[in-house]
Amino acid sequence: MTATVTAPGARRIRVFGKKAVLPWVFLAPGLLLALVFKFVPMAKGIWLSFFDVRPFLGDKWVGLDNYTRVLTDHRFQDAIGHTLLLGIGMSLGGIVVGFALALLLEGQARSLKIVRTAVFLPVVTATAVVGEMWRLLYYPTSDGLINQGLGFLGLGPTPFLDNPDTALWATMVMSVWMLAPYNMVIILAGLAGVDRTLYEAAAMDGVSLWQRLRHVTLPAIRPALGIVLTLAAIRGLRVFTEVYVLTGGGPAGSTEVWMTRAYTLGFTRNDIGGASAASVVLLCVTLLLTVTVNHFRKRGDAR
């Protein structure tokens, strides 16, 4: 537990003592928002996952039926592979690119600040807008910007999003583009804390760039990487908007991920119970993953 309650001579505090109430008063607005918009809907979602949801006729208890239905549905099973590939791919891609960007753009120069701001823009742009933009970039004829570029290299136009073999990878590239700058900022903060004298010492010893990265930079930004990894574990598997706006799960279901399946189940097939069950399954997996990542992080820190 926490080690904060060590006030000397712990004297009796009245039940409504200022010190006990005050923190909660300050927390109240945030808690209220979290309660109304996060915890109540979450609890309701878990509750609904055990029902055949019929808002008007009254919900019908079905026990674990929704779970068995979701877990045995072959389209959900197909979605697992896509979700893992996309989640892991975009998380690792986001970290590698974010790290590279951070190394390139670290520094105090004014020009670097401007470039950093520009690079950060994808993070603050609405995903729907980004999706529309990438649809244009990926446009399957030589009118599309990427295909125009390929044309200069003498390569024919590629239907990135319309080919089931490339659609998931194309979605991944867009996701990395959106995710990397966010990671970059966290890693930049980590880089700022690296002791400069270590670099100088390394330079004196005449080490290679790779050795410097491996033995000086990486160990120093360990905590930052830990945060980035935890965030990736939380966000990676619940990917939805990127796929929904770019491909809608198509073509031929080749980019269908867990959450787009759940969305279709809930909102086009009106099966709110099944959609809730699917979401609860994802919640459990995410929780497990986050706890695991944190465990390894803590163990690593302790070493």
């Binding site: 309650v5 712990a10 209220l32 446009y139 319309d162 089931p164 097939r269």
Partner: protein, 443 residues
């Protein structure tokens, strides 16, 4: 230390209780919106602000005539909002929404049954239209309000340039599409024109919605009535022939017969006809207003859909007036419905004021002629298609899962050009059987 922790816990519990109470108090304040007044009807339509402006005029005329007030709510994400209202057991009195949703709403108990005789002027609605609002138990659950049928929009300037007539059969259509794709109909010297537009994505069931006209023209059906139930029919020879034809000639056919990216296109991204680089689009007449602006009224014409081997049936859909279950204002609701389907009410809804989108396409009131009311001969093509060669999705079952599964399957078949159509359709048929079984409709 223990005391301190206890007092903290107590404070936390009190805060939580206070919060809960606070939220409950906030929640209870908002459910009084107009439902108390017996002379006010709460009416919902699935409309954006543009078409809501037209509904405003319709309801103003109704209030002026009858004194019954309307609390009008245009709702864009209609079904999500309706579900949350349903959970409070307090539905809107009257709703105007898609015909295809009737089965779904009825199965959820959201609708009041309607006796056609109780609606003044019910005889002015054709038997065909009334037949489209019969539910699974044989009772009516909606009042036909607006209808539309798909027609082929085609660039007449391109036809003229290439010296081709408007297509009448699938073979003609393919020939014209190929010519549009290869013979540079816009004369800019570049191969940047496409034959036809197809929203081929499975999202929201688009490819099944667009492709259903082709299925019917080829003699195929998605599900068939069988006694007092239904059975899946996508394993028929006609379905195999039709889907194979669509795959071989459209999606996997010659390059540019369809617009690029057709396989992932939904209606909002399939804008090639509007952008002026595709020559044909089999779609609903609500697009006429859009296409009159671009590519321009003088550039395209509206013709009946080319016929397939089994005829030229096209998809018809539209909107019905629904009464919310357990709302208790039946008399006023019937008065509103009677006005909405009267010649007067339909005329107001069919005309555009200040460029706003009309909300009735083909009037269900048979005394009206769409082309005359609008003074636009193209609408007679649409009306004729609706009256003579159109078919709706079966209205009684909850069609949403059936449409979605059909779309998923068609999209997969059209994506993998080397796929085995026959086995894919068999698989689809089994899935559809499951959908029907879920609704206790499989015979």
């Amino acid at each position: 230390m223990g005391d301190r922790r206890r007092s903290r816990r107590l404070a936390a519990a009190l805060t939580a209780a206070g919060l809960t109470f606070g939220t409950a108090a906030c929640g209870s304040g908002s459910d009084s919106a107009g439902s108390g007044d017996p002379n006010t009807l709460e009416v919902w339509t699935r409309s954006n602000p543009d078409s809501a402006a037209t509904y405003d005029r319709v309801f103003a005329a109704f209030t002026k005539k009858t004194g019954i007030k309307i609390d009008y709510q245009p709702v864009i994400n209609f079904d999500q909002q309706l579900q949350s209202r349903a959970s409070t057991k307090d539905l809107p009195d009257v709703m105007i929404n898609d015909t295809a949703l009737m089965g779904s709403y009825q199965s959820q108990g959201l609708l009041k049954p309607i006796d056609p005789d109780s609606i003044a002027g019910h005889a002015q609605i054709t038997a065909k239209s009334w037949a489209s609002t019969v539910g699974i138990d044989g009772r009516h659950y909606g009042i036909p309000y607006s209808r539309q049928a798909q027609t082929l929009m085609i660039r007449k300037d391109w036809l003229h340039k290439l010296g081709l007539p408007a297509p009448r059969t699938w073979a003609d259509m393919l020939k014209v599409a190929t010519a549009f794709a290869t013979e540079d109909p816009d004369g800019n010297g570049k191969a940047d024109t496409y034959g036809m537009v197809a929203p081929g994505s499975a999202q929201n069931g688009y490819v099944a919605w667009w492709g259903s006209s082709f299925l019917w023209q080829g003699g195929a059906q998605i599900i068939e009535k069988d006694g007092d139930g239904y059975r899946p029919a996508m394993d028929s020879a006609a379905a195999l022939r039709t889907v194979t034809w669509m795959k071989d000639n459209l999606f996997c056919g010659r390059k540019n017969v369809l617009q690029p990216g057709a396989i992932t296109a939904v209606t909002s991204t399939a804008t090639n006809f509007q952008d002026g680089n595709a020559g044909m689009y089999l779609t609903g007449p609500y697009n006429i207003t859009t296409f009159d602006a671009t590519p321009g009224k003088d550039k395209y014409e509206v013709v009946p859909a080319p016929a397939g081997p089994a005829g030229s049936d096209v998809l018809a859909d539209g909107e019905n007036v629904y009464f919310g279950a357990r709302t208790g204002k039946t008399e006023q609701e019937q008065a509103l419905a009677a006005f909405l389907v009267s010649a007067e009410g339909q005329k107001i809804a069919m005309t555009s004021v200040d460029g706003h989108q009309p909300v009735v396409r083909i009037p269900t009131n048979a005394t009206l002629d769409a082309a005359k009311v609008r003074d636009d001969a193209r609408w007679s093509v649409v009306q004729k298609a609706y009256e003579d060669t159109s078919r709706q999705f079966p209205n009684a079952p909850d069609f949403a899962p059936i449409k979605q599964d059909t779309a998923d399957s068609l999209n997969a078949i059209f994506t993998y050009c080397g796929s085995d159509v026959s086995s894919s359709l068999k698989e689809l048929n089994d899935t559809l059987a499951g959908d029907l079984k879920d609704q206790d409709l499989l015979k």
